[in-house]
Amino acid sequence: MENLNSEEKIIQDLLPQGFNKSGRIWTGILIALCLVGMFAYYRQLRYGLIVTSMRDYVSWGIYISNFVFFVAISLVGSLITAVFRLSKVEWSTPLTRIAEMIAVAAIIFASVIIIVDMGSPERFYNLFIHGRVQSPIIWDVIVITTYFFISILLLYFPLLPDIKILIGHKETKDHRFKYLFKFYNFLGSFWKGTPEQFKLSERAINILCITIIPVAFSIHTVTSWLFATTYRPGWDSTNFGAYFISGAFLVGGGAVLVAMYVFRKAYHLEKYITEDHFEKMGKMVVLLALLYLYFNINEYLVPAFKMKKSEEAHLTGLFTGEFAPLFWFAILVGMILPIIILLFKKGRKPLPVFIAGIMVVVGAWFKRYLIVTPTLLHPFLPMTNVPESYRHYFPSWEEWAIAIGSLAGALLVITILARIFPIIPIHETLTEQHETAE
């Protein structure tokens, strides 16, 4: 009887909850930021990319760095869910759905931001009717579509048992939630929880976990190839695929640290996302940060040792020149400080972990900017016969508004998903509860 009670308690704890006051403020702010971004995009559609600060030399700006950031962060879904699952890391169960939600939101906005970057977005369909398989952009279109689809499936399959619970419990009598209820029914009314269904679902999840890993590697490797397939200093590197993937795992890990803390606080999940989770994820992020640091040393030390003429201006610009403050900020705040914080046991308590996570994510965003822009300011031939504004780059308000709007949009998607679906897989938590009880 008591077992049943505790089960009921777990379900009550983990059911998605309506927004409280701060939830409403949070959602309102996100929507407002999205609207500002949409207005800026309207201006961009109307006047063209002239509203940005991008010009002929810096032809890719924060839109592209934001795109790389989103693609990077989306990789977390495959890390937490697939890698941990396949290596039978059980403590990660409560984190899988958070990771998948972040992945889906990020991959959606990666596609959005790449369309925003296009000069003629009304011709997007050309990619499908004239697509050229030789171009890395087409590879990116293919892998992003694939990854999005896999992420949706990986979110959906483990949700099925939870949807059954939701249909059983969720405010069924409340008239206000009629549509939500219909939506649940649409998604999973057929799930009865029979052993055959479980068998099929388990098998599907296992296949997905195996499939998502190479696809996830592809998506970020291909994204790195958008740069590495050119001749430009700072991009012309064989190291780029691995460098991007390690960076992606780091920022994904950082994002999970932040999300864990926020959801734990907002939904009072202290019993489910325990200090132990912070401890373990903290260690994980240290490992990932060290890995990324290693690739960074590779990426900068080797060319700096040679100081090829074409690389020289680019590298000195980063180390001591105009980009130096940002560069060292990204290295220190994005990698070294989080490593130091998380190395200590005290540093792996929820709050310091949260702070380290924020540092990782913010550092990672600027790191992407440093990968994209400084290179473009150091072409092989001198910058000649162009207006003065072409020689520098600082994003215009429209670019900031759209970039921030897209970040807000991703957070909004996560917020909405967390409103509709349980943040922590209820069914799996119950099963584990049973196993430990036995």
């Binding site: 398989v133 030789q134 694939t146 689809f149 499936l153 959906y156 057929f190 009865k192 029979t194 679902s201």
Partner: protein, 294 residues
């Protein structure tokens, strides 16, 4: 005349400026057009005339397009009109001699081409003329790759050799004449002849090795422009080599390398095959669930 014009222009300008209306003042400041005429005869066949129109803007000569010109033969009258032409984007216009002028053409050895412009809102009326002596150019080649050009003019009723005419002996190339040897131009001797040795060995010709030799008199004050061509098999056979139709990374989508297509399609088919089978699993699960209901 010009002085008067200037005075009128100044007066008009002042009047318009005073009236605070400067819209018409531009019309009042008409530009002067400079017309130049040249005659051409190719392969001693069809004579034609080219008019070039330019004007000085900010101290620099600029070509003027869209100028209506009347071209006449020998005298400015309706009966001797060669053509009404309009200059193109380069300020040039061309006309051939129409059959209606057969009698005028046959009447004299020397001809004068006239061009008149009646003036429009922007430019003053203007005219130009050029007189040329009837002449012809011949080309001859020998088997030891020597090219001889002969220049003749019509004197009374006989073709007479002309000495001291500067001409080009060249291989015809893309919008250019590549001299047959290091010498750029040749001068005719008392026989009206100029000879040149062909030194452009193995220059690419067409697929049979044919090249076109050309002898040319350009911008001659007395004779205008004359040229004659002859095709000779002195070039190397040109076999076009092109990777345009090959499968490469820089070719169009229908010419993607096979290895790339194989890689791309095999990966896409495998991955999406798995994904579709998983979607199928959803339907299977659904079916199982519905069976229980019934």
């Amino acid at each position: 005349m010009k002085l008067l014009n200037k005075k009128i222009i100044t007066l008009f300008s002042i009047v318009f400026l005073l009236a605070g209306y400067d819209g018409l003042s531009q019309d009042a400041q008409k530009g002067d057009l400079n017309i130049s005429l040249s005659s051409f005869i190719s392969n001693n066949k069809i004579p034609y005339v080219v008019a070039k129109v330019k004007t000085k803007i900010d101290g620099k000569f600029q070509m003027v397009s869209g100028i209506n010109l009347n071209l006449f033969l020998d005298k400015d009258s309706a009966g001797t009109l060669i053509a009404k032409v309009v200059t193109n984007e380069k300020g040039e216009a061309l006309a051939v001699i129409p059959p209606s002028l057969k009698n005028e053409w046959a009447s004299t050895i020397n001809h004068t081409f006239l061009a008149t412009f009646d003036g429009n809102q922007k430019y003053e009326a203007s005219k130009a003329d050029v007189t040329v002596i009837k002449a012809k150019i011949l080309i001859d080649t020998t088997s030891d790759r020597k090219v001889t050009a002969t220049f003749l003019e019509m004197k009374d009723t006989a073709w007479t050799p002309v000495k001291g005419v500067e001409l080009k002996i060249a291989v015809k190339r893309f919008d250019a004449d590549l001299s047959v040897n290091e010498t750029a131009t040749f001068t005719t001797d008392s026989l009206g002849q100029a000879s040149a040795d062909f030194k452009r060995d193995s220059i690419p010709g067409d697929s049979k090795g044919n090249i076109i030799l050309v002898a040319k008199v350009e911008d001659n004050d007395q004779y205008g422009n004359l040229s004659i061509e002859q095709t000779v098999p002195w070039g190397s056979k040109f076999a076009g080599e092109n990777n345009f139709y090959k499968r490469t990374l820089f070719a169009t989508r229908d010419k993607a390398p096979v290895w790339l297509l194989l890689m791309a399609y095999s990966i896409v088919i495998v991955v999406w095959g798995i994904l579709f089978s998983l979607v199928d699993t959803i339907f299977k699960i659904k079916k199982l669930g519905q069976q229980i209901k019934s």
